[in-house]
Structures are given as structure tokens and as C-alpha cells.
């Protein structure tokens, strides 16, 4: 009897907002046990959070975006810099520079899906696309400022670089700066070839700042990267043989957008398994678990088993490509759960496409 009285007194004095700190597993279990199951953020288990997107806000960037998903806020800026081929150590002419370029200006919406990257893509070989995320901005109490990148920041950056290479989102031909000598400089007798020469590459520095940490950082960071690359404008660049360097035009009409391949969208999920102590107290069934899509920071800490599925439905919802499946921790998920998560990831792809089309047309 005294223990029951003390528990009752404890319940009366503890505010409701403190339950997420005292016993997060019990709080999440109490919400999901309802019929129908709800989350503490008042969502259904398969429901992602709404996405807000702004593009083109930063003045100094070639492309920029701000993505806000629940309490997570990511600002992404893309800066394009020029890498002359003379700066590349042991640079050898690859097949890209031998391509026929009789048309000097490409159409803006030209899509050439037959254009191959080749076995040794210059983007990977020379690190032409450089994504980095910064979490040490005071975005949460666990990420203090002015520190070296944490393991989580390094992991997210590496995952984004790997996904950029796997999906081949950026085309090498968009980053090439080609110089075609005038025909009168061709002299067959002296053996001077007047073919097009690859003089420089554009290097895209993609930097992401996490302003607020609210869970599912990789999803928000990748969506910010995707929107910033679609907002990116590269100035018209040419090689000046007299100055021996690359010059650019500052006219906006002459700038061109990147022609990205497809649109991969990652969807993070977590599997919540209640503690055995809770099951014993409530006499519930033993093997109960829930799959939560787009977990927030509170749910991420309660799920021991997390994963991420990247899909691309650019060729139609019925022709979805599963580009990547990641999972870590736990022992609950089987093939049927993965198939269920893929279906939820397709819905997330559709949600992002709607948000992106709205933001880019404004």
C-alpha cells in the first residue's frame, strides 16, 4: 500500500511534458497501443511530416534551398568553382573530351538518357561534387558549436556522397568546359589537331547547415541537396586562349541549369519494439512492433532498429526503382516489412515531387 500511494503522488506532481524524458519507451508504447495507433506527434505510424521548401533565398549561391520537415530545418547552398585540368595531377584525356560537340548551346530541357558516365566517372575520380553537412551549429543540445564534425555528421556526408555517386544524379557533361579552337588555327601539315579540348571542370561544393535538429536528418539533407541542385545556375563559361584561363558571363539568360538524372528520394523509418517490462505489466502479446515512417528526434531514440529506403519513380509510379536499402540494428524486420516500407517510400516520393514542383514554378 505505501508504494501505491507514492506512485499516485508521483503521477500527480510530474508534468505531462516530462514523460518523454522519464520513460520515453512507455510513452511511445502508450500512444501506439491505442486503436487506431497514434504517435505522440499526433500522426499515424506510416504518415510522414509535411515538407516546406524555399529555393533561391541565398544571394551568393549558384543554387540554394531551405527544407523544413517538422522540427528539422536544413539550409543548403551550392557554390560552383572552376577546376582547370592543369591543376589535376596526372590528368589524362578521357572519353568525355572526345565527344562530338557540333552544337555549341544545349537546350535547357534537353535530356540525354543514353549519355553514359563510363567506368571511371570524372565526378568520382576528381571529386567534382563535394557534399558536406554541418551539425555543430547549436541545432540541438547534443551538437555543441565549434567542434570537429561528429560521427553522425561524417556518416551523413558520406552517405550523401555515396548516394550521389550511385544514382549518378549529376552529369559529367554539365560540368565540362570545352574549348574548340577556331578552324584557321588548324594546320594539318604541322600536326596541330583542332578538335575540342577539355580545359576545365566545374566543381560543385554543396554545403548544408542544420539549423534545427528534429530527427530524420539524412532525409531532410538529401531533399535540400536535391532542391538546391535543381535551383543551381551555372554561368556560361569559356576558355580564353590569350589570358589562358576560364572566363564567365554574368548574364543570367546565358546561364544554364543542371540536367539531373532522375529524382531519388530517401525515406527513413524505425521499428519500435516495446520493452519486455511493459509487456509483462500489461499482459500484452509478445511479438508486437510498429514501423514508424519519418521518425522525429524523440522516436529515433526509442527505436533500436532503423533503416532508409531510397526510391526513384521518375519513370512512373508503377516502374519504381529501389536504389538503396539501408538497415541497422534490431532483429524484427523481415522481407515483408521491407516491401511495406518500399510502398510507403513511393508515397513519400510523390509528396516530395508535389512540393518541389510547387517551389520551382513559383
Amino acid at each position: 500500500m505505501p508504494s501505491l500511494d507514492s506512485v499516485t503522488a508521483l503521477n500527480a506532481s510530474v508534468p505531462a511534458s516530462a514523460m518523454s524524458i522519464i520513460s520515453p519507451n512507455a510513452l511511445l508504447h502508450a500512444h501506439l497501443k491505442q486503436s487506431p495507433p497514434r504517435r505522440p506527434s499526433n500522426r499515424n505510424p506510416p504518415e510522414p511530416r509535411p515538407i516546406q521548401l524555399n529555393v533561391g533565398s541565398l544571394t551568393h549561391c549558384n543554387g540554394s534551398s531551405l527544407v523544413k520537415i517538422g522540427a528539422t530545418t536544413i539550409v543548403c547552398g551550392v557554390r560552383a568553382e572552376i577546376l582547370p585540368t592543369s591543376e589535376i595531377p596526372s590528368f589524362r584525356v578521357t572519353n568525355s573530351s572526345g565527344r562530338d560537340r557540333t552544337i555549341p548551346l544545349r537546350r535547357r530541357n534537353e535530356v540525354d538518357d543514353h549519355e553514359e558516365e563510363g567506368e571511371y566517372s570524372p565526378i568520382q575520380l576528381h571529386n567534382l561534387v563535394v557534399p558536406n553537412i554541418e551539425l555543430a551549429t547549436g541545432c540541438s543540445p547534443r551538437h555543441p558549436t565549434n567542434t570537429a564534425p561528429s560521427v553522425e555528421a561524417q556518416s551523413i556526408s558520406q552517405r550523401m556522397l555515396s548516394l550521389l555517386h550511385t544514382t549518378q544524379l549529376v552529369r559529367t557533361s554539365d560540368l565540362e568546359i570545352i574549348y574548340t579552337p577556331p578552324p584557321e588555327s588548324q594546320d594539318l601539315e604541322l600536326g596541330i589537331d583542332a578538335g575540342p579540348q577539355l580545359k576545365a571542370y566545374w566543381t560543385l561544393y554543396i554545403d548544408m547547415m542544420c539549423i534545427s535538429y528534429g530527427g530524420s536528418i539524412f532525409d531532410a539533407a538529401w531533399l535540400a541537396l536535391d532542391a538546391a541542385l535543381r535551383n543551381c545556375l551555372l554561368p556560361k563559361a569559356w576558355w580564353d586562349p590569350d589570358l589562358e584561363k576560364v572566363l564567365c558571363s554574368d548574364v543570367v539568360k546565358e546561364a544554364r541549369k543542371l540536367r539531373l538524372r532522375g529524382m531519388p528520394v530517401p525515406s527513413s523509418w524505425g521499428v519500435f519494439v516495446p520493452e519486455k517490462r511493459l509487456l509483462t505489466m500489461h499482459n500484452d502479446e509478445e511479438n508486437q512492433s510498429w514501423i514508424l515512417m519519418d521518425p522525429d528526434a524523440f522516436e529515433e531514440e526509442s527505436c533500436a532498429e532503423v533503416g532508409c529506403i531510397t526510391v526513384d519513380c521518375s519513370d512512373g509510379v508503377n516502374a519504381a526503382s529501389v536504389l538503396r536499402i539501408e538497415k541497422s540494428g534490431g532483429s524484427v524486420v523481415g522481407p515483408e516489412h521491407i516491401a511495406e516500407a518500399v510502398e510507403l517510400a513511393k508515397r513519400r516520393w510523390q509528396q516530395w515531387k508535389t512540393v518541389l514542383d510547387t517551389a520551382l514554378t513559383v
Binding site: A30, N42, E87, D250, V251
Partner: protein, 313 residues
Amino acid sequence: MSDRRRINGPAGTTSPPVFAPYSQTATATALRQRVRKPNELRKIFLQTGIVPSASGSAYLELESPPEPRLSLVPTSSTIKLSCSVHGPKPLPRTASFSPNAQLSAAVKFAPFATRVRQGYVPSQTEKDLGLHLENALKGVLLPDRWPKSAVDVAVTVLEGEDDQGEGDRFAGLGLFNLLAAAINVAMAALADAKIDCLDLLAAGVGAVVPGPDSKPLRVLDPAAVEHDDIRSSCVVGYLPSRDEIVELWSNGSVSTQNANTSIGFDEMVDAAIAAARGAQTVIKEALVESMTRNQMAGKKPSQGETNDVEMKT
């Protein structure tokens, strides 16, 4: 050179794009002149509560009039800052005993915040700004309220205001405008964290520029791209109700000869104080609005719309 904790770029050095000279000459003549009155401030957008997991947070943006973007070389620049406050929190166990709260302030530039991209290595400018910001905030906090505690203030510069011409470093007027904005956004975040302060600290920038007939003219809230020549400028952190200056930083020179016709140092400081008073009204309005929003959010659970689930034991 190579940072093993980050994804590095190409092995060779990349350089920012160089724009063709004939186009840049035409663009340079179109530099915007100041259309505001000498005592008119730029519009400030201030919002609190952007980081829910922080004790206090704020976002500040200096709005510039939208203009059609005809050139890839930006001719106008704004300031976009985000600030978060964590604390008061216990000091680490290894720290020595302190009867006062330990305030630490840091200013961090995003790599895309400047005209020429900077890397992730902390620069001397960030340390200078951090020290000045810390100095200003220490003048407004009551440290003996929280013994053995730490307060961390982090300001992230998403977009900085460049000085015209020099795109690779922050110096002079752009630095002062950035410090004033950082002090204002940090004060809003401290108030959002409900940390007791002496007053609502506000910062402003004043400058002396050549006016008509080449006589010196005092201006409030100068922008670097709007003035070809700036004789002197200064930034103050000011407590309006106490009429107290907690931070003062100036550069350039003003003449004290012919005191009847010239503008001296005191007049320039007065101009910066007037700019700080204007900024304080913006901070006050933002805090009142956020307080009203919190009160309205607090009333909803009592109407039966609570999402709490009763814990059964």
C-alpha cells in the same frame, strides 16, 4: 590541408569564377546608391522559436527590396542569421567552481555566406566577432543568478553582407553590420530562453560619409554597397532604458577640428545609438508576438484537445 573528417574537394585547387571584364564594368556603374533617408533603417525580420530543442532561438534577416536579377554578380546583399541558446546548464564535472554563469558565444559562417566561398576552417573574423558578441552579452546578463552553470550562444551566418569589391574577407562596414545583427539576434534568443537580463540589448551601426557638397553626413544603418566612400563607422551595443553602452567598436577617422562644422566621434556614436533604438523596437515587437503565440498555444490543452495519454500503471 586535407581534412579527414570532411569530404574534400579535388586534389587541385579550384578558383571562383572570373567574370568577363566588359560585362563587369557595365555592372559596376549600376551600383545602387542609397535611396533611404540618412536616419532610416533597413527593414528587419525577426522571429523566435525556430529551434524547438534549444532553450531559446531566433532568426534575423535584413530585408532588401527585391530587384530583378539580371546579373549573376550580386549587387545587393542582405544579412541572414540564425541563433540558438542552450542553457543555463550544469558545467562539466572537470570545470572549476564558479559562482557565476559562464557565457560563451560563437559566430560561425556557413561556407556559402560570403561572396567567395570559404571552407570550414574557423577564420580570425569568426573569433573576432565571437569575442565582441560575448563582450556585449556579458554586459546584459546577470551571471550570479546561475552559479556553476554555462550558457552557450551560437550564431550561424547564413548570408553575410559583403564590402563592395573585396569579396574574400569581411572587414570594415560589412563586419560592423554583421556584428550588430548578431547582437540583436542573440538578444532575441536570450529573451526567448527566458534568461534574466538587465535590459533589452540592441545594437546599431552609424557612419560618416561624404554628403552633398562634400560635407560630412551622418547616416544610420549604412550598407556597404550603397556608399562609395565611408569616412568612419562604428557599432554600439546599447541598453536603452539604462542609457548604457556595453560594446563599442569603430574604425576610420573623423576630424575634431572646426567643431562647429564637422561631425566628431560623439556624433557618430549618437547615430549608432539611434540605430540601436530602432532595432530595439523590432526586438520588442518580436518578443511580444512570440509571447502572445505561446499563450494562445497554452490555452488549447484546457479546451479538451489535449493529446496526452493517461499512463496506466
